[in-house]
Amino acid sequence: MDASLRPDPLELVCPAGTPAALRAAVDAGAHSVYCGFRDETNARNFPGLNFSPEELEAGVAYAHARGVKVLVAINTFARPGAVEVWRDSVDAAAIAGADALILADLAVLDHAAAHHPELRLHLSVQAAAGTPEAIHFYTETFGIKRVVLPRVLSVEEIARLNREVAIETEVFVFGGLCVMAEGRCLLSSYATGKSPNRVGVCSPPSHVTYGDEDGCLTARLGGFTIDRYGADEPAGYPTLCKGRFRTDNDYEDHLFGDPLSLNAATLLSGLQAAGVKAVKIEGRQRGKAYTAQVVRAFRRAVELVAQNRATDDIQALLAPLSEGGGDTTGAYQKTWR
């Protein structure tokens, strides 16, 4: 390919659950970092995680000094009678100097569009906007500049969608994989009473227990058995969509999804050709060691892809960090369905 025709590398959007992880991601080569406040406005509301407004301001300064953008996720759905909590988060992110907000709720989008017209708005994956029509609605109504696509589309469908939408698209390429359409899953809420959509935590650690039973590790959520692992069997996240279940027709296995991480490293060039603008790494609940390792590998990969070179060596680098020790390309390949 003629060097002048080479596309820009895919924008690498990296997770930061803590200020330390933000610095690790920036230092490891992130183009952008996403993070959220330490409360229910953020869909990774795990204990001990996330940012105070002061920490966000310091994080933005650190990132901006190194040419890296900070995207703030305020991507849960506001509680009735308490919408101002979400509005305050939007205002706080704007004050802290965020480069863009990642939003899902109509109420929060409305506030941001009306009161912070200078701020870029990204539509969170939690809004599950997977059709040109839905994206068109959010673009027309709130002026969003980018949509994070739900993990239900194949690469071919993403390419077709990009031909029909005017705004940027961002897709997940690595990390935990929601099996259900994001933002439209109440499994954890049904079993625990804590709604991921409303309080920002799926499989809340407060409702997860692990027990040693007959030499097997048994993971439970709200008292419901998610899975049992033999002594040397790799474990998975304690989410119901990765659990092992029985059905009426004598099936017994991971009915919804295998306990695997998403890894679309091999599809990066296809995603770039499909017109995707940015690729996202999941994992704000992971440690800074993980963040640095994955970010470094993917930065190398997006550079190689932009130069039209192979990405095989990426796989070896990432294998030890995958959930259950394995990975999948998920819905990006139609057979996953």
Binding site: T18, P47, S206, G287, K288, G324
Partner: protein
């Protein structure tokens, strides 16, 4: 080949040596270290919120001791007890000592260790998750934990870092890019 010991476990002989050592001085030293850290960097403990009052047991599976930690900032307490005497804990995290040290200084990722079964958790999972996340943000170095800084701190860091890398390798600890890359 089946593993005789968990990955990263110390040889049993070390446990035999540790067993008769007095536990109180170690507990006092660790308590003072955490309280000193809380004075220097109070924000680390703010992220623990209500979890700071809940005692968590950290059990090195290759040593006959357990650390009972109440991470209450300037009022933090660390007790060193026999593993059977850690019953006050609301939750317990178990792994070989070298693996725990790697978690403490951020070399290892807690989720990856859990997936690979090198780390196990029981009791109130949220207390362990909160402590893990707060520790990960702390970017604790061995020198910072014991409160030495400057040139002495750097020498100490390097010595401990080198020793840990050698120990991880010798004990066959789980791989991470940081542990395996030089």
């Amino acid at each position: 080949m089946p593993r005789a010991l968990p990955r990263g476990a110390l040889p049993a002989a070390i446990g035999t040596v540790v067993r008769p050592l007095p536990r109180l001085p170690l507990a006092i030293a660790l308590t003072l270290a955490i309280r000193g850290l809380a004075r220097r960097r109070p924000e680390l403990f703010e992220r623990l919120r209500s979890f700071s009052e809940r005692p968590v047991a950290v059990v090195p599976t290759d040593l006959p001791i357990a650390f009972l930690i109440v991470p209450a900032g300037a009022d933090a307490i660390v007790e060193v007890v026999h593993p059977d005497d850690a019953g006050d804990a609301v939750a317990t995290a178990r792994a070989p000592l070298l693996v725990l040290l790697g978690l403490l200084d951020g070399t290892y990722d807690g989720d990856a260790l859990f997936f690979s079964r090198d780390l196990s958790i029981d009791g109130e999972t949220d207390a362990v998750v909160a402590l893990r996340n707060a520790l990960d943000d702390a970017e604790l170095t061995p020198a910072e934990l014991i409160g030495v800084d400057g040139a002495l701190g750097r020498v100490f860091e390097r010595a401990v870092g080198d020793a840990l890398r050698v120990a991880w390798r010798l004990a066959g600890a789980p791989a991470t890019s940081m542990a395996t890359e030089s």
